[in-house]
């Protein structure tokens, strides 16, 4: 094929895609019209493939969670397996400081190595150049090494403590400088939550921390909790939290907090932390242990003010002590499937147990299987709901063969539907059974099981004369039906019989006869002299009468259905007459 035609085809396809008509495209290339037309028509036909049933939201969400969890696992594994230059140094340093007894034997060796390292570094200009470096700079690890070695070699307890405070202050200054200069870098630090406002937390002594929907939070956060923060300083001068991990839970709020906090109130004094270029936990050096002060950390937990909305801010005894602010707990929002109702007031939504109170604002109807967005506050292991918004249910139409019929859950095709005695309507000429092809109108649920509203068996009923029988195929006035073991033959029908047929209409084959009933011959009916019987039932085989009716006589355009509320009543009526499907209610 000529190259010209391929270009013409490509251009025409692009025009069709942009909305031009097929005729216009063909008319513009009369010399190619005969070749172009069938190809463009094929393209147009392909457009019918575009509609796609949307993926189930819960599948999408669970896939997203798996994906992000796997990413977190890989990130952790990578940082452990192949630490980079900075993190290697930090890991080494952190090991250096491990206070575990088995490392004490190596202490002298390590100290000697550290001294040697300091000697080497001090002798060069590297150290000087690193002094002003910040997280993200190439020389920043050098600065950390030098500082940590200095701390190591400071053996006098008071001097060591003083140096620890200074280094800790430098770390804070480093982060402050990053933020002030709008430089982007990842940092890790520890501190005590001083206040929590929606979207912004304050970690004592550090710039305000932006908390957004991407922030991952591990543990029960609260004012007073000691946390490790992994954050990103942004070019706009903000410090955005990527992850918050609770190291020490917030103390239980008390209405009579100690009025005289000690001077060791500031939690950072005894725990210098290093901002890190990576977010590995090992980037945070541990508390120095050269001069162990086992009680030093205690005041952090006991003396930190834990203000509540009803408390007055505590006096601040030192210039560096954080000022208490009114607490505004940050609600957590999530969207999840309503999985269970544990009691009237406790529901499981997503992976959390939610407490519903009189103050909870609920929009929509709470029901297991529906999707809801919850705004709640952590309360122990549960969440006290502030608001619950039940999301709209999506209508779902599907079709398939009944595979299983449980007492409340049926499998239709690959779908599972709940068949509810109050909410599900069944339309069929006879009680349904496995193997029947049905159409289902359902409410999509976020669980695997949808709620069936209508289950309908497509069927047709007509009258005609049996013209031919070939094996299991009967030809009744031109229409072919399959007669199988489950077909009810009433009145001994045969070739020449005038019959009424009720047949299921599967989508992929000829109708399957559910019943074939011989009809009485058409003779003038004498005027009844007595009350008629309720339903005439053929009792004998009438003489074969060939009726000259060439086409089937369609009795029901809209068949009178069998309707029931399943599943028990439906089964009880399994042998209901098929000639006159009726509404049992």
């Amino acid at each position: 094929m000529s190259r010209d035609f391929m270009s013409v085809l490509d251009e025409s396809l692009a025009r069709l895609r942009d909305g031009e008509s097929l005729e216009t495209c063909i008319l513009d290339y009369p010399e190619h019209a005969s070749q172009l037309a069938p190809l463009l028509e094929t393209f147009v036909a392909l457009q019918t493939l575009k509609p796609v049933p949307p993926p189930i939201p819960s599948a999408m969400l669970s896939g997203r969670q798996r994906f992000l969890a796997e990413a977190a696992r890989l990130r952790q594994a990578e940082s452990k397996a192949r630490p980079g230059l900075r993190s290697r140094a930090e890991v080494w340093l952190s090991r250096l400081w491990q206070p575990v007894p088995q490392q004490r034997l190596a202490w002298a060796v390590v100290t000697a190595m550290a001294a040697l390292l300091v000697f080497v570094l001090v002798s060069g200009s590297v150290v000087l150049a690193s002094t002003d470096s910040l997280p993200g700079d190439a020389l920043y690890p050098v600065k950390l090494i030098v500082e940590t070695v200095q701390l190591t070699l400071t053996l006098d307890p008071e001097a060591h403590e003083q140096l620890g405070r200074e280094l800790n202050e430098r770390r804070r200054q480093d982060i402050q400088k990053l933020v002030d200069r709008g430089r982007e870098a990842q940092v890790t630090f520890e501190g005590v939550i001083q206040s929590m406002r929606p979207g912004t937390w304050v970690i004592a002594g550090y710039p305000p921390l932006v908390i957004d929907s991407q922030t991952t939070i591990e543990g029960n956060v609260g004012v007073g909790a000691r946390v490790r923060i992994n954050a990103q300083s942004e070019s706009n001068g903000s410090l955005r939290a990527l992850g918050v991990k609770v190291l020490v839970l917030a103390p239980v709020p008390t209405t009579t907090p100690s009025p005289t906090p000690t001077a060791t109130l500031s939690p950072e004094v005894s725990t210098p932390v290093l901002p890190a270029a990576t977010d590995t936990a090992t980037a945070v050096p541990p508390t120095p242990t050269v001069t162990p002060t086992p009680t030093r950390l205690q005041p952090t937990r006991t003396a930190t003010p834990t203000p509540s909305a009803t408390e007055s801010p505590l006096p601040t005894p030192t210039a560096t002590a954080p000022k208490a602010e009114p607490v505004v707990p940050r609600p957590i929002r999530w969207t999840g499937c309503i999985l269970a109702r544990l009691s009237e007031a406790i529901w499981v939504i997503g992976d959390k147990e939610v407490i519903i109170t009189a103050e909870t604002k609920i929009s929509g109807e709470l029901a297991v299987g529906r999707l809801a967005t919850v705004g709640a506050f952590a309360e122990g292991n549960r969440y006290r709901a502030q608001s619950i918004e039940v999301l709209d249910e999506e209508k779902l139409d599907l079709a398939g063969v009944i595979q299983e019929m449980g007492s409340t859950v049926w499998t239709i095709g690959t779908f599972k539907v709940t068949v509810d005695s109050q909410q599900t309507r069944i339309i069929a000429p006879r009680p349904l059974r496995p193997g029947d092809y049905v159409r289902v109108s359902a409410l999509r649920r976020c669980t695997e099981v949808h709620l069936a509203l209508v289950i309908e068996m497509p069927y047709r009923k007509w009258a005609g004369v049996v013209r031919q029988i070939t094996g299991d195929r009967w030809f009744i006035d031109g229409a072919e039906v399959i007669v199988n073991d489950s077909t009810q033959l009433i009145g001994n029908p045969g070739v020449g019989s005038r019959v009424e047929v009720v047949a299921a209409m599967p989508p992929d084959g000829p109708p399957i006869a559910l019943s074939i009933t011989v009809l009485p011959t058409r003779t003038p009916t004498p005027r009844p002299t007595a009350m008629p019987t309720s339903t005439p039932i053929p009792t004998a085989s009438p003489p074969a009468t060939i009726i000259a009716t060439p086409t089937p006589e369609l009795l029901t355009g809209t068949p009178a259905p069998y309707v029931d509320h399943p599943p028990d009543k439906q089964r009880a009526l399994a042998e209901t007459t098929t000639s006159t499907p009726s509404l049992p209610h």
Binding site: F5, D10, L13, P55, G63, L68, A71, A399, Y437, S441
Partner: protein, 178 residues
């Protein structure tokens, strides 16, 4: 540097924000592509989730993608579809009982349309793999010649020739079926 490449660079550090952005941006597109190839919503959901996990496995490798994130993800999806076909000892065509009919439609019309779709899909499956790819990527997913070329590792000129052969073959297959 394009937005995609910037996103990939961040994804290379397993940045959760970047990864979440990629997932949210591409999930439905990849799901649609796999659904068109397999015609089964459940399997399509499973394989779509697998595409993103595979992406994580090789996001560190600088050569994992050629020029675009889109192309890379579609290639992973394509490979998974092929693996799926290979795993099936007996290939099962899309079946009616798996279909979801758009709720607003008349059920009877929907069934007719599904039958037509099924016939069309079966005709597409008689084509060569490359022809099927160009049919689904270009005519159903609406990707450009450049994007399809990137995914298939061919030139744009080759894609134009391929689309011509694909449409002509499909036309013949449909006429044969009719």
């Amino acid at each position: 540097m394009s937005d995609d490449l910037r996103l990939l660079e961040r994804a290379g550090t397993y940045d959760p924000v970047a990864l979440a952005e990629i997932y949210d941006q591409y999930y439905v597109r990849i799901y649609n592509y796999i659904y068109h190839r397999l015609g089964d919503p459940g399997i399509s959901e499973d394989l779509t989730a697998e595409v993103f996990l595979r992406m994580l496995e090789s996001v560190k490798a600088a050569k994992a993608w050629h020029t675009s994130l889109t192309g890379w993800l579609y290639r992973i999806a394509h490979n998974l579809v092929i693996d799926h076909y290979r795993r099936q000892t007996k290939r099962e065509g899309p079946e009616l009982n798996e279909r979801v009919i758009p709720a607003a439609d008349n059920p009877v019309l929907s069934l007719e349309r599904l039958l037509a779709q099924q016939q069309l899909r079966e005709a597409v499956h008689t084509l060569t793999e490359d022809q099927q790819q160009v049919i689904f990527l270009k005519f159903v997913e609406d990707l450009s010649n450049a994007e399809v070329a990137d995914i298939l590792g061919k030139t744009e000129g080759a894609i134009k020739a391929l689309q011509h052969r694909a449409l002509a073959s499909l036309r013949r297959a449909l006429e044969g079926a009719g």
